[in-house]
């Protein structure tokens, strides 16, 4: 574990040529590792596991409602999906310089408690966005684009982004997070989708379509 963290730090330092940036990232990793060592242990039912309050909560909110739009809300997300993402960050199938050291430092027995906790939290309610963009996004969500062969998102992600055990919940998610992920699937920066499905979808989506559908999804959910 320690070695992995060291490797990560070396890698991060190489990635960021600007010295101060590398230092900042390294310190972030060290601080998180320290926090994980300082706050070990699981949680009792209903209460937030210590690792949530000490680590995850800083960005994702102690109740799973993220503090800033670049971070995804986790409240009410399916635990199977959350677990897969954590495992993918650990195994390098999903790449994120902030998440990888955090989840790598997590005790394996804590992962289950963390995902169950976030999954049990009340989902974030949708927030009204740009009405015209929301409408365009809703049409796209339901119909897709038959000219370019993009399926309607609703087929898998269900009505109003409710999701299910196979496909994540999207309702109420941060628009910035959704559009960033779609762009990452399109560019190939994110490749941990089952069966390349989301890469197939995003490859054919325009930036306008991504922004519209993200705005729509941020607006739905109670």
């Amino acid at each position: 574990m320690k070695k992995m963290l060291q490797n990560y730090l070396v890698k991060t330092a190489e990635q960021f040529k600007g010295c101060s940036e590398a230092k900042r990232q390294s310190m972030f990793g060290v601080a998180l590792a320290a926090a994980l060592i300082a706050f070990p242990g699981g949680a009792s039912a209903g209460e937030a596991p210590q690792v949530v309050t000490a680590v995850c909560g800083g960005c994702h909110g102690a109740d799973g409602k993220a503090a800033a739009p670049m971070f995804p809300h986790l409240a009410g997300q399916y635990n199977v999906y959350l677990k897969k993402q954590i495992n993918d960050f650990i195994d390098g199938r999903r790449k994120n310089d902030m998440m990888t050291p955090v989840v790598t430092a997590m005790k394996p027995e804590d992962v289950g408690a963390v995902v169950d906790y976030f999954s049990a939290q009340k989902p974030v309610a949708g927030a009204a966005g740009d009405a015209k963009l929301v409408e365009t996004g809703m049409t796209f969500y339901q119909e897709g684009n038959s000219d370019t062969g993009v399926p309607g998102c609703v087929g898998c992600h269900m009505d109003e982004g409710a999701g299910n055990k196979q496909y994540p919940r999207l309702a109420g998610q941060s628009a910035m997070y959704i559009s960033t992920q779609l762009a990452n699937f399109k560019s190939g920066a994110r490749t941990n989708d089952n069966g390349s499905l989301m890469r197939s979808v995003a490859a054919k989506m325009t930036e306008q379509e991504m922004n519209a559908v993200a705005e729509y999804l941020a607006s739905v959910g109670k």
């Binding site: 897709g144 309607g152 609703v154 087929g155 069966g195 197939s200 490859a203």
Partner: protein, 272 residues
């Protein structure tokens, strides 16, 4: 003695040689730079020695599989984004109606697309082996066959119905049935309840050789059709009330092994 030893060595190496042949035959999967699977190509009607609906590989295995409509109802999620809820398709013809189609027909078409005998680069990323298994194909096909066909499919302009009927009854009906009900045992699709614009597109593709898994008998039959003829016959068939031909829900049980097995057996028998 030496010959005997050589013979033994040759026998021992035989499975290795056979394996090497298998590996050589398996085509490497093609993907885009970001990893999206690209539809392969397999020779179809444009090639000499084309055998329509040849019983081999995935098609044969999916037909033999015991399709379960309950599992199919779950596995169908991936199809709904395009084919819509209840697999009713879209009246603009962009995606066909699948509800009520014969399971054998659906298995033939999906496996033909997977093999690259029917060109459908849009569908391939959502129907390839990373997304649905052979068992899923059988489950989905059986489930779709149980869904009701509603009379709200897209229709044509209604101008050439007399011509359409005349054309339909002078050939199409022999395989597709007087009521457009098709024939599952022979892999002939149900046409009633299908969207007009989809029918026009596919009949045109078949006439022009663009639908590479087409039945050569049908290509021959419609070769003289003008575009107006195609539109007329598609309009006529899109107006045959599907209610008369809806498969009863009780047929689900019949779609289980006996029916699927029968289809394969029947086809193999006719092929001989």
């Amino acid at each position: 003695m030496n010959k005997f030893v050589l013979a033994i060595i040759a026998l021992l190496c035989w499975p290795l040689a056979a394996m090497a042949e298998d590996v050589a035959q398996a085509q490497p999967e093609k993907t885009t730079p970001t990893g999206v699977p690209v539809q392969p190509y397999e020779p179809g009607i444009e090639s000499s020695g084309y055998v329509w609906n040849e019983m081999k590989s995935e098609k044969l295995r999916a037909l033999r599989a015991l399709g379960d409509p309950l599992r199919g109802e779950i596995a169908i999620e991936i199809c709904q984004g395009c084919h819509k809820s209840g697999a009713q398709g879209r009246p603009d013809g962009s995606y066909p109606r699948l509800a009520g189609q014969h399971d054998t027909v659906l298995i033939k078409q999906i496996t033909d697309i997977r093999a690259g005998r029917r060109d459908n680069p849009k569908m391939y990323p959502f129907a390839n082996a990373h997304v649905i298994s052979i068992q899923d194909i059988a489950d989905i096909a059986v489930y779709l066959g149980t869904l009701p066909v509603t009379p709200d499919n897209g229709k044509g302009p209604g101008a050439g119905l007399a011509l359409g009927q005349k054309l339909y009854e002078s050939g199409c009906n022999k395989c597709h049935g007087d009521k457009g009900e098709g024939n599952g045992d022979k892999f002939y699709p149900r046409l009633s309840g299908q969207h007009y614009k989809y029918l026009v597109r596919e009949i045109t593709y078949i006439r022009d050789g663009q639908r590479r898994n087409a039945n050569p008998k049908m290509v021959e039959q419609i070769k003289p059709y003008s575009n107006a003829d195609i539109e007329a016959v598609a309009d006529y068939v899109s107006r045959i009330p599907p209610s008369a031909t809806v498969k009863a829900a009780t047929k689900v049980s019949e779609n289980k092994p006996a029916a699927a097995g029968k289809s394969v057996a029947a086809h193999v028998a006719t092929a001989k």
